[in-house]
């Protein structure tokens, strides 16, 4: 029976020859992940179950990223609990400050996720690893606590929606524009419980950075996971990151999809999500003058080296607008160091930006750039619901790094084409 990639990976990890959408199956987990907000509750569940040893200390990653460097006493207590648990259980993939970064940036970077893996994380953006051809999805802390004890999880096999990209990517258009466009088409509930499969000959020209951005926001359409078939781009990305090979899985011809959406790339414009929903998407050309108090470049969506490079390319020799704050947060220490070497950090600082330590920062209204009443920000992150980045009376627009950089210079939302 023909199956989609998602169905194949799930079947393989459930010890089954095949699965159909709707089946409730029990799946073995290759990597279980939690962060400083979700780990404490998960650890409590693990203790409550009475299990003494985690299922496999090499298959767990605990990443401090949301409220670090410790935002306040309570956050410090949460991280301390994670740290002590990892020490007690001898969990290898615990990252101390100085090594830690945004979870969905450092795990692919370190080769901890392979094509064909099942990754379950207590964070909604765990869907990011679908970019590598893995099945990955977010769950809550209770599910994660049970996984820590057993290494397994119950999942319902999702139906799939296929997005087919044809043509050539125009200048400046990147993964963020493509996923925002898809959200505009699907809506925040358009893919609830579905798997979003990104396909088409256009996909071959998408870098791993673009793919990570796209898979990252699959959850904003309500999807269970987003996924790209692993290909040559994947092979190159993985080549110097892991000794393990992974499984390069393709959907079968004849596999069934609930919906197919063709997306011509040639005419794709740069996209912006306007307040207060990630599916409230318009081409940047349709955004009237919107003055910006703050621009944020970073997050698990667009905090990678390519994103910083693209923004730096626009900012070189230019200044951030006088009344606009520009905050840049590299997604990992490795990205930060590389950006330093390439002169990217110098470019940002010269332009008037503030550079933060690798963490989630203001994305979820944590710290490092919260908005006051009446303020408006443009962010390369993934959600812009009311009070996402601060006061309920603040507004957040979402866009990619090129629009972010150009808008930081202009002090209002513009296309990079207007200045470069």
């Amino acid at each position: 029976m023909p199956m989609t990639i998602t169905e194949k990976i799930l079947a393989g990890h459930a010890g089954l020859d095949s699965v159909r959408p709707g089946d409730l199956i029990q799946v073995d987990v290759d990597l279980a992940l939690a962060n400083d907000i979700t780990a404490p509750l998960a650890i409590e569940v693990f203790r409550d179950l009475g299990t003494e040893v985690v299922f496999d200390r090499e298959k767990i990653a605990m990443v401090q990223d949301h409220f670090v460097p410790n935002k306040d006493i309570q956050s410090a207590q949460q991280v301390k609990m994670m740290r002590e648990f990892c020490r007690e259980q001898k969990i290898s993939h615990f990252f101390e400050l100085g090594e830690t970064g945004i979870e969905h940036v450092i795990l692919p970077e370190r080769g901890l996720v392979l094509p064909g893996d099942v990754v379950i994380g207590a964070d909604s953006h765990t869907c990011t690893y679908g970019a590598l051809g893995a099945f990955s999805t977010g769950v809550g802390s209770t599910d994660l606590g049970v996984i820590l004890a057993t290494g397994r999880i119950w999942l319902k096999v999702p139906e799939s929606i296929k997005l087919i990209y044809d043509g050539k990517l125009p200048r400046w258009v990147g993964g963020k524009d493509l996923i925002l466009h898809a959200l505009g088409v699907l809506g925040v509930a358009g893919a609830v419980y579905f798997s979003l499969e990104f396909t088409g000959e256009g996909v071959g020209q998408l870098s791993m950075t673009h793919r990570l951005t796209m898979a990252n926001m699959a959850v904003e359409a309500g999807a269970k996971n987003g996924i790209f078939a692993a290909d040559e781009v994947t092979r190159k990305y993985m080549s110097d990151r892991s000794d393990r090979a992974g499984s390069f899985i393709q959907s079968d011809p004849g596999a069934e999809y609930a919906r197919e959406i063709r997306v011509p790339l040639d005419s794709m414009e740069l996209q912006v999500a306007v307040p207060h929903s990630p599916d409230n998407v318009r081409p940047v050309s349709e955004i009237g003058p919107v003055k910006l108090d703050q621009v944020f470049l970073g997050s698990c969506t667009n905090g990678r080296l390519d994103d910083l490079r693209e923004a730096a390319g626009l900012l070189k020799g230019r200044k951030v607008a006088g009344e606009t704050r520009f905050i840049v947060i590299p997604g990992s220490p490795a990205i930060y160091r590389e950006a330093l070497k390439e002169g990217i950090i110098e470019t940002f600082l010269e332009a008037g930006a503030v550079i933060g330590p690798p963490c989630c920062g203001p994305c979820l209204g944590g710290h490092m750039g919260i908005l006051a009443a009446g303020e408006t920000a443009l962010s390369t992150s993934n959600r812009n619901f009311v009070s996402r980045m601060g006061h309920p009376d603040s507004k957040v627009y979402l866009a990619g790094p090129a629009v972010a950089a150009a808008s930081a210079i202009a002090g209002e939302i513009i296309s990079p084409a207007e200045i470069a």
Binding site: I25, T38, L41, V139, S141, T142, L364
Partner: protein, 174 residues
């Protein structure tokens, strides 16, 4: 499991940042989460809600983050059950896992107003608007998941049924 209380109404796409804003996420004390439920949307909610009250929502309730803090905040604030037209996937899973009864019914969501007295019999999926006399049947929930709610959540279910659910590789939805 039966729940009865006053109805509280919210609209479509009520997301996790609304249910519990991020500034309250650095705690693991669930009662503390309850005290900050709907802190920005309806600051009077936590003072006025009574144990057993029922939240009635539109489409895609609980969209956004995977944070379990969202269903915990509702449960510890006193909400006995959530009736919605539809739920976001992560919230749906988390609610069952922590033993917060949730059911889907378009008609119930449309025909219950804020302040109505409502009862829910979770085992049979029956919702009654006692103020109007109307009855509704919620979308069926798989037996395995009903058992999780009846046990009080996933942890309690796993403790009562060691290995249960983890013996079989596949269940079909009944």
């Amino acid at each position: 499991m039966k729940v009865q209380g006053k109805a509280w109404k919210v609209g479509d796409n009520v997301d996790t940042d609304v249910i519990i804003p991020a500034r309250f996420l650095n705690v693991s004390d669930k009662d503390e989460m309850g005290r900050n439920c709907f802190a920005d949307l309806r600051p009077d909610f936590v003072r006025k809600v009574h144990p057993g009250d029922i939240l009635v929502a539109g489409e895609n309730f609980g969209c956004g983050s995977s944070r379990e803090h969202a269903p915990w905040a509702l449960k510890r604030a006193g909400i006995g059950a959530v009736v919605a037209k539809s739920f976001a996937r992560l919230f749906y899973r988390n609610a069952f896992n922590i033993g917060l009864p949730i059911v889907e019914s378009h008609e119930a969501s449309e025909q219950i107003e804020e302040g109505d007295r409502v009862s829910l019999d979770f085992a049979i999926g029956e919702i009654v608007n006692q103020s109007s006399g109307k009855r509704f049947t919620a979308r069926a929930v798989p037996a395995f998941m009903r058992a999780v709610i009846e046990a009080g959540g996933l942890v309690e279910y796993v403790k009562k049924n060691p290995g249960a659910g983890f013996k079989e590789q596949r269940h079909t939805v009944d």
